[in-house]
């Protein structure tokens, strides 16, 4: 499931809106304008947060910190509270038990899986409760790509100060490890350096880092060349999995649509259509070019040097 891909949807952005609302009125609009949206697709979003010297990472309802896993096994009631919102897809929102120390993170699963999810969470001692998202602290939202890379979607760093002056820095970056820091929590000083490496940011004090990631093409969304190169493996995997149904990937320099990646099955189908169009155009041109010019049999024979009389 973690390899199914990361898909941003309108529902996810609505959920993100609760978060982004803290950052000023322009944040959500910026996110919606920049983050591709695909209705009905799967969203796998994780969050990492800092709790003292430790960085915590969770994806799709699973806390990856070994300490949390052990704690959950020992006492499930010590785990974060769970909320679910019944939309087209199920979005499950987790809230840390101590909002001032922890942060919220959320994930989503398809509707068809909610029954299993509910059972799973119930078995783990989770309560499906409604709860507001509060208490963000040094939060990062991370998506998991279908090639197993972590993708940073955003980071909320100490949002409570100078909210109105918060810039929104669109950046790109991935980690090469799907499960960073699981075994080795990073000290604060190294964490900053690590974050800069992750997001490729040169600004050490970014208040918010947003990564716009997509591995599907939607109308109006175009990848950069570096995006396309970076996610090529994921695109190919999606083409392999979805075949002709897979959305093509449009990319180009500065997001200008200049080239397309598409599944070979789609390409094969398009060949016929293209052939159709080209040939039909040629026929139309030829029809239009027919001026009614006619050549007599005698002139035609003369052109080929054939004497008709002895034939």
């Amino acid at each position: 499931m973690l390899r199914d891909g990361v898909w941003a949807t309108a529902e996810l952005l609505d959920e993100l809106g609760d978060t982004l609302g803290w950052l000023g009125p322009g944040a959500l609009a910026t996110a919606k304008a920049t983050l591709p949206m695909v209705d009905g697709s799967l969203v796998l979003v994780a969050a990492t947060w800092f709790d003292g010297p430790n960085m915590w990472t969770s994806v799709n309802g699973l806390d990856w910190s070994p300490a949390a896993e052990q704690a959950a096994l020992a006492d499930p009631s010590d785990f974060p509270t769970v909320t679910y919102v019944d939309l087209e897809r199920i979005i499950i929102r987790f809230r840390a038990p101590e909002p001032d120390k922890h942060t919220c993170w959320f994930t989503s699963t398809p509707c068809r899986d909610i029954g299993a999810q509910r059972l799973e969470y119930s078995a783990a001692g989770f309560a499906l409760l409604s709860a507001p998202l509060t208490g963000y602290d040094d939060t990062q939202l991370v998506g998991l790509t279908n090639d197993g890379h972590l993708m940073m979607l955003g980071r909320l760093d100490d949002y409570s100060r100078n909210v109105d002056q918060r810039p929104w820095w669109p950046l790109l970056g991935t980690t090469r490890r799907a499960r960073p820091h699981r075994d080795h929590p990073i000290p604060r000083r190294r964490r900053r350096r690590h974050l800069r490496r992750i997001v490729g940011a040169v600004r050490p004090r970014l208040q918010l880092i947003t990564v716009m990631y997509m591995n599907v093409y939607t109308a109006g969304s175009t990848e950069t060349v570096s995006d396309a190169r970076k996610h090529l493996t994921g695109h190919v995997a999606r083409f392999r999995a979805e075949g002709a149904d897979a959305e093509p990937v449009v990319f180009g320099d500065r997001r200008k649509p200049e080239a397309v990646l598409l599944a070979f099955e789609t390409f094969s189908m398009l060949l016929e259509a293209a052939e159709d169009v080209v040939i039909a155009q040629r026929v139309r041109e030829r029809d239009a070019a027919d001026s009614g010019e006619r050549t007599s049999l005698a002139d035609a024979a003369a052109e080929f040097g054939i004497d008709l009389d002895p034939l």
Binding site: E272, E275, D276, V277, I279, A280, R282, V283, R286, D287, D290, S291, E293, R294, T295, S296, L297, A298, D299, A300, A301, A302, E303, F304, I306, L308, L311
Partner: protein, 142 residues
């Protein structure tokens, strides 16, 4: 090339595309070309009656046209498609001359005479022609 010349052999005229067909045939086989002119001469003097064509979905209505079989030993069969301009093919217009494989000459005639009103069928015929020509290793010309 197009200057009319008074004299015999005026009951048969060739369209520009039919003339282009003959140029292609000339490259492939002079024997076939000579046989084509032999048959057209017979058509011109009324000693040859083409077989009238039908209205088929893939070609369109070609009932005003006829076919002439071109048989040459050691060469693929060709067909001449002529349109009847004067009744009973007393005056004819050569529409297409081509290898008969997969009804190529009739498909060509239907397209050239715009007998395919449905654009989908028209484009389908165009595709067929292109594929047949590829199979015959002919230039992709319609």
């Amino acid at each position: 090339m197009t200057a009319r010349r008074r004299g015999p052999y005026l009951n048969v005229v060739l369209t520009a595309v039919a003339l282009a067909d003959l140029r292609q045939i000339e490259k492939r086989s002079l024997d076939v070309l000579a046989q084509v002119f032999r048959l057209l001469k017979q058509l011109d003097n009324g000693t040859l009656q083409p077989t009238r064509l039908q209205s088929l979905a893939k070609t369109g209505d070609l009932t005003d046209c006829g076919k002439i079989v071109v048989l040459v030993d050691g060469e693929p069969e060709h067909r001449i498609v002529v349109r009847d301009l004067g009744g009973s093919f007393q005056v004819s217009e050569v529409v297409a001359v081509e290898n008969r494989t997969d009804d190529l000459p009739y498909l060509l005639a239907g397209l050239r005479l715009a007998r395919q009103g449905d654009p989908i069928r028209r484009s389908d015929a165009s595709r067929r022609i292109a594929r047949i020509r590829r199979a015959l290793d002919q230039p992709d010309e319609t």
